[in-house]
């Protein structure tokens, strides 16, 4: 997976999927889904997002509903990666399954070294985050299994061919 370069959007703990993507924006229409990202939290945010921007958050990011519209909204806005202290289980699966890298800080305290709007580079495979100032912040290596899903650009590309057994 290639490096991701963008700006930091900073969040706290327990950001749930109803905040990430309010239920009123649930739709099969990509334009409507795209517009809903963080709409209640900050209506100015979505139009200001640039491709490659990175969501940085505290504990338990993405708790709550399993609606994958929250992942679609992040992807439709070209968020490049998410880096958090940790992720809620279903959100982590959904993002990973869609090839959107979720990485965690190797040291939870490192989150305080980042600020909103800062330009950073994330290397998902190497599990590192670099700031513009050249500071390197270690992330937790994702493991081969997760790397395989990223490399395939999502779980669906690992579906077995007709007639063959599924494998990990």
């Amino acid at each position: 997976m290639t490096e991701i370069m963008g700006r930091v959007w900073l969040f706290g703990d327990n950001v749930n999927t109803d905040v990430i993507h309010p239920p009123a924006f649930y739709s099969l229409d990509p334009d409507k889904v795209r517009a809903g990202l963080f709409h209640g939290y900050d209506p100015e945010m979505q139009p200001a997002i640039e491709p490659g921007d990175v969501v940085v958050a505290g504990r338990n990011f993405g708790c709550g509903s399993s609606r994958e519209t929250s992942i679609r909204a992040l992807r439709l806005n070209h968020i490049g990666a998410l880096v958090a202290v940790d992720f809620a289980r279903i959100f982590f699966r959904n993002a990973t399954n869609n090839g959107l890298p979720c990485l965690t800080f190797a040291n939870a305290d490192d989150m305080t070294r980042l600020h909103k709007g800062q330009r950073i580079t994330v290397d998902p495979d190497a599990a590192t985050l670099r700031t513009e100032a050249g500071e390197e912040i270690p992330l937790t290596p994702p493991g081969d299994f997760i790397r395989r899903i990223w490399a395939a650009d999502g779980l669906l590309n690992l579906l077995p061919q007709a007639g063959s057994a599924p494998q990990l």
Binding site: N14, N16, D18, V19, P22, P23, A24, Y26, S27, L28, D29, G40, R59, N60, C63, G64, S65, S66, R67, E68, T69, I71, R72, D86, A88, R89, I90, R93, N94, N97, N98, G143, F145, G154, L155, L156, L159, P160, P166, Q167, L168
Partner: protein, 422 residues
């Protein structure tokens, strides 16, 4: 080496290979649950890839989010979902029959010892009858529909042991809110919560469903009750016999943590906006004027919940400033509530009884909140903006507390004191 927990045993029994040293394992599932809103997200991919469902008989699909649809856009989504289900020849398509999680536990597909995945986070509720069930997103569910398998990590387990006697005015909702206060929104993240009910008398099955349902608000992957006589009675009443396997933990099972909860002193609990873990005892709450009361959702829309509300509203009126919406969790529950006379009591008291569906819990329809609304709700989440407007406020509470607040017009600390029963 220590013994195995329930989730250890269920995952081992469903793993494709015998190697339990790998972090992620490919497992076979026994059943897949699919509600309309999430299944609709995967239909295009499923059809474009020319996939077929691995075993139609093991799939339960239900239109519970948009039932019936409130807008033209949702009607189109609903029609797409129904056309997919019919086109795939799914025998267990439950049309306008209630909330999928309730329909699952009413169905023979859900068995003790089973491993079940569903396209909605509250799938975990089937743990109330000894199944390891968990929620996932559309992409995971697509993979499982096509292969009958999924990837899974074996979670660590936290054992929660209930002791003492739950006071008559308290319910499973108060128990799980107390647990949320203790563990927080991520206290069981990636873990299995294994509930050992050693209280006397044992918790009723509806209370167990409420507790298992909200295990996901604590971050849990499974929230599973150790099966006992209450479990067996439920299956025998439903299927005529016990068909599943009662999987119990080993006596020396390895737990990450053991929590002992004495239910004897547990009085009413309330979760304040905007987190299910923002819990206080009701008696410590500042009085809050409410405009809306909601009894329903997969967490608490079952017969005993509706019965409690009917008892509270007998010969009383819903406060004139309050809209009280009641939604039975399934049509089967609705029919039982009709036969018991609960629905008539509620309507006579001024409540609105709506068709079995998710309703306003997810901000969908049948009582969505406006900016100035303050709601006391028996649903499972009070996240900001979930039930409607970003400025609206939702308090979570037990069905009894919801009903009492609906009568008083105030979520008040003395809701129980003034009737002299707590």
């Amino acid at each position: 080496m220590s013994g195995r927990t329930i989730s250890d045993k269920v995952i081992d029994a469903h793993a494709r290979d015998g190697d339990d040293t790998t972090l992620y394992r490919l497992v076979d599932v026994d059943a897949v649950l699919g509600p309309d809103a999430t299944i609709a997200l995967l239909i295009d991919d499923f059809e474009r890839r020319g996939l077929s469902i691995w075993d139609r008989d093991r799939v339960l699909l239900a239109n519970d989010h948009f039932s019936p649809p409130a807008t033209a856009e949702r009607a189109d989504i609903s029609n797409r979902f129904l056309a997919f289900a019919r086109g795939q020849g799914i025998p267990n398509l439950m049309l306008d029959s209630g909330i999928s999680h309730q329909l699952l536990v009413e169905h023979r597909l859900c068995q003790a010892g089973g491993l079940i995945v569903g396209a909605d986070s509250h799938t975990v509720m089937a743990g109330g009858i000894g199944a390891c069930a968990t929620g996932m997103g559309a992409t995971d569910i697509l993979f499982t529909l096509a292969t009958g398998t999924t990837w899974m990590r074996k979670p660590n387990t936290i054992a929660v042991r209930f002791h003492g006697t739950l006071p008559a005015q308290s319910s499973g909702r108060d128990v799980v809110l107390a647990l949320l206060a203790l563990l927080g929104e991520s206290g069981a993240q990636y873990r299995c919560l294994e509930f050992h009910d050693e209280s006397t008398p044992a918790l009723c099955q509806d209370d167990r469903f409420a507790i298992a349902n909200m295990a996901v608000e604590i971050g849990a992957k499974f929230g599973v009750f150790v099966p006992d006589q209450t479990t067996v009675d439920y299956y025998v009443a439903r299927d005529g016999e016990l068909l599943g396997t009662l999987v119990r933990p080993d006596a020396d099972a390895g737990y990450e943590r053991v929590i002992d909860l004495d239910l004897s002193e547990l009085d009413a609990r309330v979760a304040k906006p905007w987190s299910p873990a923002n819990v206080v005892p009701l008696k410590d709450l500042e009085p809050v004027r409410i405009t809306s009361a909601f009894l329903g959702s997969c967490a608490s829309g079952r017969l005993s919940d509706i019965g409690v509300a009917a008892a509270e509203l007998t010969d009383r009126r819903v406060h004139p400033d309050v809209r009280f919406v009641v939604i039975p969790a399934s049509v089967e529950v609705f029919k039982q509530a009709l036969r018991a006379g609960y629905v008539e009591t509620l309507i006579e008291a001024g409540a609105i009884v709506e068709h079995s569906s998710c309703g306003a819990c997810g901000g969908i329809d049948k009582g969505v909140l406006g900016a100035d609304d303050v709601c006391v709700s028996s649903s499972n989440r009070n996240f900001r903006g979930r039930m409607g407007h970003w400025q609206s406020r939702t308090y979570l509470a037990s069905p009894r507390t919801v009903a009492r607040a609906a009568v008083r017009g105030v979520l008040a600390p003395d809701l129980y004191r003034d009737v002299g029963d707590q």
